[in-house]
Symmetry: C2
Subunit: 230 residues, 2 copies
């Protein structure tokens, strides 16, 4: 599926030639992949969306493992075939030189600090807990689930406090730090976490959702994601 | 402790004024902190080392929580008092504009991809497993330990395969991607993982250890890190 329509090259007068756009290997239910879809939309970049049903083994084919040996989405394939994995590295690659990444070196480093915070303190805690609970994977991991939720609640408190004196996480404006942090936190209620008590977070969710080009996500997990009850 | 000696300012003729160097808040047993110590040494940067015994609550003081609300080390404090947390964000901040970070945009994004890989696939797997096993925290987490070790072994296989056709992870030269990936992998044997079967990894360990300014680390965990047997 080409998102925003195919791009026809007119350079050189050969109008039949189609320039191969960037490809995003995607799973609609992944909030990591949603981050990249959201940024591509807000950057108004044309790309080909390639759905990979990771729960039907489509991430484990020899072809896909060449793009990402971990078999995970998202993967961004550039028009020359080179690939980048890890959602926040993809955000960085796409945002470089745009208003979505602060130009000031210290602010850039702080954006990166929040991106690492997100992948360590948010995604494996609130994101994994939600995934386990919504897809039938929670019961063999009760203790670990409790630990992850505790760490996730701490992450929300840290974020809420950081938003006491700012509208966005870095540099006074919406950036990829906000996109990354929004992805798993705004749906953390699905993991039984109380979001309403964090007023700064709630106001920031609304600010993120009011950004030009915002689109909601991720989609619900597909049927193949669910495991039968033990 | 000032590492590499105090820096005396002579600008303006006021020779009594001491320029406050960067400070690194550090725990000697942390491999995340070791990454930063190693890079600072290899960059030949003068800094003040401030030991924080996170196992004696020194990360939870109001003063320290202002520097990092998570109470974790490492934290880099710049000479103007601003702080950066998250080991790999600190590496990035220090390496910007140096040979330790590739200048080519694609290579820079790949370096970032490996840094996120490290914080998601290596540190919480091999690093946490080692920490639990060495400090008496493994027994209440048997199932989770097995899952983490399985994910850690997969990370080592991915790294070993990536090294089939390259000497360092990105851009053909030693970079912060190597520093970050080295920190927890070279000591993964402490978690019972077989490193010897990964020949490319073993050769890469030797190349990292042969770099100018290399120093070994991290230190063993201190006495306060250990919990009594249940």
């Amino acid at each position: 599926m080409i998102v925003r329509g195919p791009k026809t090259a007119s350079a050189g007068g050969d109008e039949r030639r189609i320039v191969c756009p960037m490809r995003l290997y995607d799973y609609a239910g992944s909030a990591n992949a949603y981050k990249v879809r959201l940024l591509l939309r807000q950057l108004d970049v044309r790309y080909e969306l390639v759905p990979i049903d990771i729960f039907r083994g489509e991430g484990q084919t020899p072809d896909f493992l060449k793009k990402n040996p971990l078999g995970q989405v998202p993967v961004l394939e550039l028009d020359d075939g080179r690939c980048i994995a890890q959602s926040n590295a993809i955000l960085w690659h796409l945002a470089r030189g745009t208003s979505f990444l602060p130009a000031d070196p210290f602010a850039e480093s702080k954006a990166l600090e929040w991106l690492f915070f997100e992948q360590y303190e948010v995604e494996p805690t609130l994101g994994s807990a939600r995934y386990w609970l919504l897809t039938g994977r929670a019961s063999p991991r009760k203790d670990e689930l409790a630990r992850r939720l505790e760490a996730g609640r701490r992450a929300l408190r840290v974020m809420d406090r950081a938003l006491e004196d700012r509208t966005f996480f870095v540099g006074g404006r919406y950036s990829i730090a906000d996109i990354a942090l929004y992805a798993y936190t705004h749906i953390a209620g699905d993991a039984g976490v109380d979001l309403a008590s964090h007023q700064n977070l709630a106001a920031w969710f609304a600010r993120v959702e009011a950004q030009p080009g915002f689109e909601p996500g991720p989609a619900p997990y597909g049927a193949a994601a669910h495991v039968p009850p033990a």
